[in-house]
Symmetry: none
Subunit: 230 residues, 2 copies
DNA sequence: GTCGCTACTGACAAAAGTTGTCAGTACGTG
DNA sequence: CACGTACTGACAACTTTTGTCAGTAGCGAC
């Protein structure tokens, strides 16, 4: 059994065992030395598995690595499919891809007839003209990492300015995709249509506050009640 | 990316792709040689994954057989939230409700730190004017049950006619919601804007074919390739 | 405090695994 | 037959993995 196979086996082992397992027990079970068990555990942890070890006790895996089976009603499935289709046709390839894999994960646990229903579901969505998918992707990335960005912007009057902003939200409208950001140049929150940006640069610089705070402040300014409903 | 990480990624990839995927496609996606793809596939198979390969076709995995899917990634959560938000603001209350309960179920399975991310997610969607929510809901119900429906319809020229149709699909566009149906009156497939319908009646009568067949035929007529992607 | 149990770390050299390349075979479809 | 694709074997360069050994550290029982 090679290491990579063993890691999968170890995941399975930890997933199934309810009580803590000692490294020594694992080492016997998998026919490897204790030292290697420690290394394997470390490797899984670095891949996102929540495995806790306590001296004198053993190892135990916390939930949150594997997605448990989710059950949905027919209507919920319909909603899910429709939402994912909208993403596929109205955002960017990266989000579309995430939508697909979401759907695949959900479907994994569902009985075959439901999967079949999904593939024959006839709720459809239209698509709008795409804004530059690359930019859209990069901007979302920048929001995630709270990075300062720079770009040239052509406003509604056609005037071109260079901006340096702290992005914290994106709005998907049927006419355009809009970035919401704190503008260093103007010292205020501003909205920017993605299709009017040019020469976008994601700097390595992280902005000196958090997107949460920025968003909260923006909501107050705009009179948007509370954090966003789902 | 180490081999063991790659194997998990490969599982995810196979789970996600509904259609068979060729070894070459995988090799590009994972940035490895084709030979290594064959080795990786073999490795997963020997551990119990149900992966089938056919010459000239590609690989396909039978879902739900081995390890459960990995937890949603940050990007997948983002996609999910955005999709559900679109539903909330652009369809009807029934779908919006389904979206909410979907999200609630998903959140229930998520570790706390991810739940927090969801509540502070800043991808937003615009909303369009609603078509009559009641009608929208009833029409979807009619599609589900394959019921014959009747209504008065005002076409683009303003002429009013009474129709009896077999509904099988709905399209959500930014300008309007459109019902796609086989029209008994015209003996052909027709599209109807929901906002131009009046006096809608869902009859108790079930139409003498299936929505799948109707949809298939419509797709052929319209030159839409294959069943709908997610 | 000491003991027993166990998690965990660093270092190192031998052993094993991994990879891309190349040259082939096999299979089903058109 | 040609084509697309699954699949195999061999090999050498390259990386990773492994066990061993020598330690440190936390916790509960006595």
């Amino acid at each position: 059994m090679t290491r990579s196979e063993r890691l999968l086996a170890l995941l399975d082992l930890l997933r199934q065992s309810r009580r803590p397992i000692t490294a020594e027990a694992i080492s016997e079970r998998l026919q490897i030395s204790v030292r290697t068990v420690y290394r394997d555990i470390r490797s899984l942890q670095s891949q996102g598995a929540h495995i806790e070890g306590e001296a004198g006790i053993g190892y135990q895996m916390q939930p949150g690595f594997w997605l448990p089976p989710l059950m949905f009603s027919e209507q919920e499935i319909e909603a899910l499919v429709l939402g994912m289709r909208w993403l596929k046709r109205n955002t960017d390839p990266e989000l579309a891809n995430s939508a697909s894999s979401c759907m695949a994960k959900v479907l994994d646990a569902l009985p075959a007839e439901v999967v079949d229903q999904v593939h024959h579901n006839t709720l459809l969505v239209g698509s709008r003209q795409n804004t530059d998918p690359q930019a859209s992707h990069e901007l979302r990335q920048a929001i995630r990492t709270e990075s300062v960005i720079e770009f040239d912007y052509q406003d509604a009057q056609g005037a071109l300015t260079t901006r340096r902003v702290w992005p914290f939200a994106m709005g998907y409208f049927s006419e355009a995709t809009v970035l919401v950001a704190w503008c260093e140049t103007r010292n205020a929150n501003r909205h920017f249509r993605v299709d009017r940006m040019q020469n976008l640069i994601i700097t390595a610089e992280r902005y000196p506050t958090s997107k949460r705070l920025l968003a909260k402040q923006w909501r107050v300014e705009e009179g948007i009640p509370e954090s966003w409903p789902i």
